[in-house]
Structure formats: structure tokens, C-alpha cells
Homo-oligomer: 337 residues x 4
């Protein structure tokens, strides 16, 4: 950490801060500049109180030097992590594709979807049984019945099942049916839930919250890793910005940046990331070109009559075309697709 | 709802959408413009599928007319709601002030804090026993021990206790000790938790998520109201924007806007909303001038040694001065402070 | 336009607004809903006063139906526009690549750069002679001397010259040397400048402002088109969001969205859009996969000693590799690259 | 500046950066941490190339310590600046109020407005003669005719005239009629214009761009100050965020923050900052409570028929009430209002 003192900080202030820093088990180096004094605090400062140092007398600001996450860091584990769950492999040059409807609506719907996405090349099936909805008046999912239908679809297609879990108390139930536990964007900082999925042996797809920084995303992953579960996939699904022509803004530089900071694989969700069906195919291709390790896309047999997210779902035909485009891009860049 | 058709939509597309709208139990009025056709869908469209209409053939966009929330709406209940919980009264011209440390750290700390904030005019005590923290390596709160210390402070000062609950399974425990259950910003869309606090007889302080729209905030409130609990206070605590000189951006127009849309009282949190002690006093006064029904502020006996949020906490002296300023503003504007 | 009345609007209010609408030369259709009345205003409302209608008695909000731009609209001109300027062709399936240093620093620097980018496949040369800089203490460009050096580089390589013009009074001078006039992000709403470049016969590269909506970008283009200059390229160069790990957030969905709304070609700037050299190659490839009609990239013989923007500039070798990657993606998707 | 090296930076990299730093005339202190090495660069680094240091080998990031602005800094001039222009005084405890219509529409309109705002206590008159408009199809102002009408209104009321100038070539003309030159939000980084107003003896009202950081705002002010004009008022008028219920988000903490960083006075614009008439009165009062040195508000004799910005303009009566409220708040806090 670097503690930057105010221009008018007194010698006593500097001395006080040196003692505070050393009280935290760090070593303090004082550098007297022409206009300001700064104190470099040397040592592992991840558990130190950046915040409380900022309240010290004469302190202008405190600049952390080390990233706040540790186990997720590429500096700790140098090789990219590959996550495997049944038919799904994601990472280290292999691109996984998770596809299916927003919500499980019926056995017929999920069976048809799973067969169609498998035929087009998807390597896992998505489908929500527990649906967190903005409005209490919206369809909230089929719950355990939906999970059973997903299991039926897995039996029929051998596709791994990816489905969301919304509360820690549901984790045992959902883990009984799912290959991958999805933590949704609204729950990225539901720490009780993160710990609960961290205590399972299921792979986890952790979605970035729409206003989460990358450090916050990696610290959320750290909760899961810290609980003992190393199989975490990060998912960029769009952030909230001033733009209104898309539902969220999909920042693909996240993929490249994460690959420079963490060994965990990165999946992109162009369906939620754009919010409009017609934007999905090209943004899926762009995600592959940016180096994404996986894609997750909403596909529905009849988007116009979907019970949720129809406006951003692909038909079976659109999904097959999108896959063809993505495969071309992936193969041109040497990925295993 | 207004369904706007594309310029090149066919007569068949329009006919199709009219049938879709009528299938939803709404009445369709077709208006043929010089460049586009629009269809007005008349009726209560809150449960209708805006999303799936958007996937209809030839549809350019769908514009909702009615607000998506209902019970929270000022159109449904015309008088402002006053929330009362022990010593705390918020709303309809009475300004409540909730103050205390970010986290309960010890009995001595919470007792000293409660006495100091009461002496300065606070009408409720805040203090976190369950702390949701961005990093797994940060202090996570004293849990039930902290709740007991809060109860001791209530016994000593008769101040109502406001404390956060982070998971639905903790609600019975926290409700045993607290007068007001706080749902934190990270949990604003934790619907299981919203339902759980909605099923208690405790007042609820619902914080706006840092990227939540006002409609999303009111729909979160709607989950609580819909479960049968009418005692909801909304809390503006800052949103995430491109600004970095403050921790969040505190948009006080929220207060005025909410007063035009809902009968629920609005509390402002200038501590989290700014993230720096020196910004809190003036922003507290500004919140009162904007018409806030309440304030919630972090106050600590020794901010420099606080276990969390010291950089945005007021000392006892600073809090007393802030209260004096706010009281002047509130009284100048005719509020009961 | 749709005028949505408040729930408690009186019959007189509705009558008043009907007269206001008809006074604007539009036709009014009143639709009485179960909870609210809306009035559809039919006709070309682009010149109507959305704003002043909003101040009408009993009005809740006014929703425009037609896009505010006209000449730029794909509804007016159905075929994509190809912009040609010397060696540069952009649009309708041909991808142009503009590359070179942020600023012209010397004849040797710009000559070396132009030869290197041409060898790697660039089809135009960029280089700033007039540099708008955030700080008055930063290097402001070589001005006319810089323009002359650009002309020398064009003579040597036959690459078209793309350079920024920052004030309407400079347009004649810059147009004497440049093939393409660049309007920078800071000047996207400098309407005097837009009119001035609209009055030349030079192609224009119009950069999106970092907080401009797409409608604002297209209306800025409309100023140029309206002045008589049809050769406008739009440029996405990143928007300002809460993210700090990149200098701006590069929203590639802009490319796909613009292709659905306008006939004008879309160029992407991954250098400014990310702000870090190591993020540029993959984001350039992603832009091509998203369907960009062109790329503009910063390339410098010695980024570490560049007078501006070195941290986001590619070396000659990095640029050649980036071009190879982009070419693969472009060709895989059937573009002429 | 602090140069943070990557974990795997070599001794040669560190040595290289030390030489780069010393080549910039700064002194380098190397601090070897447990995980990383950082180099503190001591000296006035405002003219140093933060950017090019970032491209150095083995560099992770570069953290500036000194604010990039100088003349605007409170560290350079410790007393608050009072700006005076005719009837208007702003700063150091005196609150100035600038009011009037968005645009000058006719002599009758501006005369009536000036008399009404003066009667209610305004100390300067605003009115646009050159209007920068998002759409080329909107009313662009009466230009010199409008300036003459403003001068007539000044003769009638003795109110100082505040009006916008949009291009450097117009500065002499506008300065002939105006007491205060307003630089609009869209032109905050139009450096040619900043230099031009800096070369006059007129006071300047500099509006913050909707996505400008505070450092960028202060650097824009620095252009004016550096040209020799010390009479600069900063104006917060709202930033662009994800919020859509207000036109912009008005972050009042800007006022408090600026007072801690600069001696220049701070004016708040609650009209543009909210975009809706009904939000203006309370946000004006909140701005005063936050410590604003001035207010600028749009007032129109007949907002419904205004040629621009009617939806955010106050009537004469509303303005008089708003002034009464603001005066109470200002006086309660000891300001001269």
C-alpha cells in the first residue's frame, strides 16, 4: 500500500502513520517529495485496513498495490484452469457452449431444446428451474419439477445440465440434479450462497453483477475457491451503463483482461449482454474472437411464446447459424470448438 | 402498452400482434401513422409479457405505460406512509435519524455509540452483526453475539435497533433482537430474503442496489408488501457511476422523484453515498433539504481504529455538529426533526 | 409521439393536449385506458416540441415513436454507404484499416510508421497534427508542420491521410492536406465544426463522444449530411462507464445496432476503446467479428518514447500480428479485408 | 508518481525504469516489497509522461500522486475566489442566483423574464442567443439579435447578463454584450474556446461535461486560468449515468469535494441536472444545503410554449417559491443570500 499524505501533513502525522502501518505488520518506507510525503507499506497488505488508514490524520489517500484476491490470481497459479462437468469442457483452448431456454417450461419444451442445441453443437444444456424475477408478478419457475425435466433431458442427450441456484438452502436440492450450479448476476455478492456452492463438488458458473468491478467478481470467486471448490467459471453478461439501445452493455475486453489476471476460464453471455435476439449472433462471434472460453446462449423452440426472455432468445435455426459462424471464427484463431 | 411496429411491417404482422394482445386479455387499438403503425394495448398490462410481444414479427419496440409496481404506488394509496418502530418514526413530515457504527465490535463500543448518538438527537441505533463483505478475508461481524450487544444498547438508551439480515434463514434470529430489519444493497434483489422479511412483523429498511433503477427498487419493495408487511422504508445509498472521487454517486433527486411515485418514506445514507467522512455532514443537510424522511449515518467512537468503514464514519463530535446543521435545515423547511 | 396522461388528468387536460398536438400539425388519437388516457400524435414529429408537450397540464410523459434522425436512417436509404478516400475504402463488405501514431512527432517517425503500417496491410495512415489534450501542459501537436509531414508520408506510400481537425476555422487548412477529416470524441457535439466539415468535399470520420447516446451520434452525423457531405464514417471508440480496468468500455454491440439503423459505415477504435496495448489485438479481432467496416489503431515505432498515448500503441511487430489475426477472422466471415 | 512493477519484472526492468524516471528530471526511490517492487518518482510530475512510463518493460501500472491541475488548486491559493460581474457576486459565502429562459425568444419574453427573476431575488439573468442543439432540426437561437435583447433587459433591470458562447470566433461578439461568458457542457473540452474566453476580461461560467471527471473539469478551468483569466465559476449540471427517471444525475457531493480541492466557486444547475420542473425546487434547496456558491435556473413566462427546455423551466411563481425556500436554507446555514 502507498499512503499519500496531504501537502500540509505534519511530521507528527507522518510519524503516527508509520506506527499505524507497522502495527499492521507491514514495513514503512517514508519518501519525502517536493510537494508531498508518501509512505510505502511493504508486505502482504490484503488483510490490512486500507479503509482505516484512510481515516488517519493528514492522509490524502491510500493506494493498494496488491490485487485483493489471491487464490484466483494468475500470479499464484500460472496455468489456465480447465473446468469439466459431464459433457462440458471449458478453458485452456477448448470452447464450451451452453445453450437452452431461459426457463424450463415443460418436458416437451426442454427435450426439444436439448436435442436441437446438441445437434447444432452445444456441449451443455441451460434451463432455469428457480427464476429470480424483478417483479413478484412474473413467472418464478417450475422449481423441483423443472429440475426433474432437466435430468430427463440429460438422460436423452447426455448434455451436462447448467441451472441456477438462488439460495443457500436450495443448494443440496439443485446439486442433486445439476452438473453446473449457476450463481446469477443478482446473487454475485450473496456470500452465503457463494460459500454454499463452494462446499459442493459441482462446477460453478459465476455471473458478474451488472455493476460489479472485476475485482469484486474475482473476490466473489475467491469465496467459492476459499471454501474448497476449484471449478469456477467466470461469466461476463453485461454491465449497466447509460446505454439504453441494449439491455446491458457487453464489455468484451473483460475476457482479455481476465486472461491476464486469473487462471479461471471466462464464459460470455451474449443473450443477457445485449437483450435483443438480432444482436446475439454477431456478439457471440465477437466473444469468440476476443478469446472467450465458453458461450452461454438462450435458445427457445418458440421465442414469441416463451414465458421469459423471448426477446433475446434464438430459434433453433438461428442458433445453428450462430454456431456455424462462431465455429469459423474459433477455428480461424486455433481454438478447439 | 404501446406496440410500435417497424416501418416495413406487413398488414399480417399487425393483425398477428392484435391477436397476441387480445389473447393477453387486453384491448388493441391500431393507429396507422404516416411512417409507422402503433398498437395501443389497453388494460392492466402489469402481468402481460412485454418481452414476448417484443419478439413478435414486425415489432420495433414495446413501450409500457403503467408502472410495473402496484401496492407501492402513490396512485393506489394517496397518503404518505409513516413507519414506526420503537423510538423511530419516519415519514409524513417527521424525520428519523438512524446512527451508529458500521459493525458492532464490542459491548463497550456499541454502548458508547448508542449513548452518544442519542444525546445528539438520533432516534434509532444502527450496527451490523452480520456483515456482507466484498472480500472473504475481511471481518464478517460478531453474529448473534453482536445482536445481543445491540439489545443491551437498546435497554440502556431505549433507541430502536436497526440491523442487517443477509439470508432468509437468519430472519427469525435477527427479528428476535431487531426493531428494523435492514436489507442491504447487495441483497436488494435477493427475493427469498425479501419474502422472508415480508413475512415478519418487523419494519424493513430496504437499500437501493448500486445499479438498481427506481422501478427495480419499487418492485423489490413490492415483494415485501405483497407478502403482507406494509412497514417498508426505502433507502437511497448511492449508485455506481463513472465517478471515482466519491465511493458512490448520491443522487438526491431520488427523494423527490420517489415522493411523486410512492407513499413509502425515503431514507438517505450519506455515509455509503459518499464514502468519505468529510463529505457526510453537508450531504446529510442536502438530503434533508431534498425532503428526505430519514437519515442513516455511520458514527464510531474511534473511526481510525474501526474494523470496517472507518473512512466514512463520523466521530461523536462530528455527528453532533452534523445533527445541528441538519436540524436547522429541517426546521427552516417545516419538518419535525 | 405518444402523450401519456397522468391517472388524475382531467377531461379538460386531455382536450387541451389534443389542441396542442393539432396545433403542431399532427393528428391526435385519444385512447382511454382502464387506468390512464394516452394520446397518439400521428405525423412527422421530428420537428415537434416533445419537450414543451411534456410541460402540458396532466401530462405524465411523452414517448417519441420516430427516430429523431432522418438522412442517416436506413429507412430512408436502404443500401449501405461505401466511403472512399484515396487508398481507403470502408463499408458494404470492405474493411478499411487506418493505422499510425497518435501524434505526428517528426518526419522520420511518420515516414517509418506509414511504411510499416502499409507493409502490414493498412489502407490509410492516421496521425494527429492538432491534438486536443486534457491538460494545457501536454504536447499539443505540430500543427501545420505536422500536416506537411503527413503529406510527405502520403507521397511516399500512397496511403490516404486521416487527421483530426479541432476547430471550424482550421477546416480549410486541414482539408488542404487530409483525405479524411477526423472529428474527435470531445468535438462530437461541436456543431459549428460539424457544419464546417459538412461543407467540404472530404470524407469525415466522426467519433462517438464517450457519453453520447447512439441517437446523439446519428444526429451529429445528420449535421454533416444535412450540410451536403454524404461521406461520413461513424466511429465507436468506447464509452465512459464505472469500469476502471480499461480506459473506456468498448461496446461492440454498437456495430450491430448501427447496421440495423443506418446506412453509414462503422469503424471501431480498439486503441482508445481499451487504453492498453495488450488489449488491442483481441478487441480488434472482436470488432471484425462483430461486423465492423473498419478499424483505426495507434501504431508507433517506439511506444515507450511516444509523446502521447504510448500505453495504448502497438509496435510495428504487434500491428503486423494483429492484422494477421483480424484478416483471418474477416476472411472466415466473408469480408473483403 | 508511483511506478508499480509486475511481480515477474526483472532487475533490468527496474533499472531501466529508474533511468527513464531520472531522464524526466525526477528522483527515483526503489522499494522492494515482498511480492512486487515499486519505484517512487519524486518531483513535480505534472509534465511527465505517465502514459509512456506505463509502456515501460515490466511495468504493471503508474499511479500519479499530484493532482494534474495547479493554478486551480486550493494548495496553491488558499482563499476561496469571489467572482464578481456587474450585479452578480459568487463565492466566499455569497450565493449568486442566475435565472432566466433557456433561449432568448423575443424582447418581450426576455424583458418579462428579467423583471420577474429580479423581483424574486435573482442576481443575474441567463438567456441563450447561440443555442447548441442535439438535432440540426431544432431552434438554434436568435444569435446577435438575441444578444441585443439581453442587453436591453440588462438596461431595464441592471441584472448582469450570462449567456453561452459556442465557438472561439464568436467570443469577441458575445463578450461585447455579456457580463459572463458561459461555456456549455458540450464544449467543456473545446480547448480553442477555453483559450479564447481565457483571453477576455469577462467572467466565465464553465459547465461540467456530462461524463467529465472532476480532474478533467479542473484541467478545463486550468486552460482558462492559464490564459490569464482568473474569474472562473465551475458549474455542476449533472452527469450521465444509467438512471433514466431524471435527464441527468445531479451529484451534489461535487460541491463539497470541489471546495476541498479548488478555490474556485461552484454553481449548481438543478434545471439541467434533473430535467423536470417538479424536481427543481427541492434540488435547488439541496444544492444550497450542500454549500453551493450559486444557482443557475431556467425560468420562462410560459414553459408550455417555450422554444426549448420548457419541461425543466419554472414559471415566475414557481421560481419565487423556490427562491423563498432556498433563502431559508441559505440563511439557516449562515450564507449571504
Amino acid at each position: 500500500m502507498i499512503v499519500v499524505m496531504k501537502k500540509n501533513a505534519s511530521t507528527g502525522d507522518v510519524e503516527h502513520m508509520v506506527q499505524r502501518i507497522e502495527g499492521l505488520g507491514l514495513k514503512a518506507h517514508v519518501i519525502v517529495g517536493t510537494e508531498r510525503t508518501v509512505i510505502a507499506a511493504v508486505g502482504d497488505d490484503r488483510r490490512a485496513h486500507k479503509g482505516s488508514l484512510e481515516s488517519g490524520p493528514g492522509v490524502a489517500e491510500v493506494v493498494p498495490i496488491l490485487a485483493p484476491y489471491k487464490v484466483a490470481s494468475l500470479e499464484v497459479k500460472h496455468e489456465p484452469t480447465t473446468v469439466r462437468a459431464g459433457s462440458l469442457t471449458v478453458g485452456a483452448g477448448t470452447i464450451g457452449v451452453i445453450a437452452g431456454p431461459c426457463a424450463v417450461e415443460s418436458e416437451a419444451q426442454i427435450l426439444a431444446s436439448s436435442r436441437a442445441v446438441k445437434a447444432a453443437g452445444a456441449t451443455a444444456l441451460r434451463g432455469g428451474a428457480f427464476k429470480p424475477r424483478t417483479s413478484p408478478y412474473s413467472f418464478q419457475g417450475l422449481k423441483e419439477d423443472g429440475l426433474k425435466m432437466l435430468a430427463t433431458a440429460r438422460d436423452a442427450t447426455e448434455l451436462a445440465v447448467v441451472t441456477e441456484v438462488v439460495a443457500s438452502e436450495d443448494v443440496p436440492l439443485v446439486a442433486r440434479y445439476a452438473d453446473v450450479l449457476q450463481v446469477g448476476a443478482r446473487n454475485m455478492q450473496n456470500y452465503r450462497l457463494l460459500e454454499a456452492v463452494g462446499n459442493t463438488d459441482r462446477a460453478v458458473l459465476l455471473k458478474r453483477g451488472p455493476s460489479a468491478t472485476i475485482d469484486e467478481l474475482l473476490l466473489a470467486a475467491e469465496y467459492i475457491l476459499d471454501a474448497g471448490n476449484p471449478n469456477v467459471m467466470l461469466c461476463e453478461r453485461g454491465i449497466r451503463t447509460f446505454e439504453t439501445h441494449t439491455r446491458f452493455t457487453l464489455p468484451l475486453a473483460t475476457v482479455v483482461y481476465l486472461h491476464a489476471k486469473t487462471h479461471l476460464p471466462v464464459v460470455v453471455d451474449p443473450s443477457h449482454g445485449t437483450g435483443h435476439t438480432y444482436l446475439v449472433p454477431r456478439m457471440a462471434a465477437a466473444a469468440v474472437a476476443a478469446g472467450a472460453d465458453g458461450l452461454i446462449m438462450e435458445v427457445h423452440p418458440d421465442p414469441e411464446n416463451a414465458m421469459s426472455d423471448g426477446y433475446q432468445s434464438l430459434t433453433f435455426e438461428q442458433f445453428a447459424e450462430t454456431m456455424a459462424t462462431c465455429r469459423k471464427v474459433g477455428q480461424a484463431l486455433g481454438s478447439k470448438f
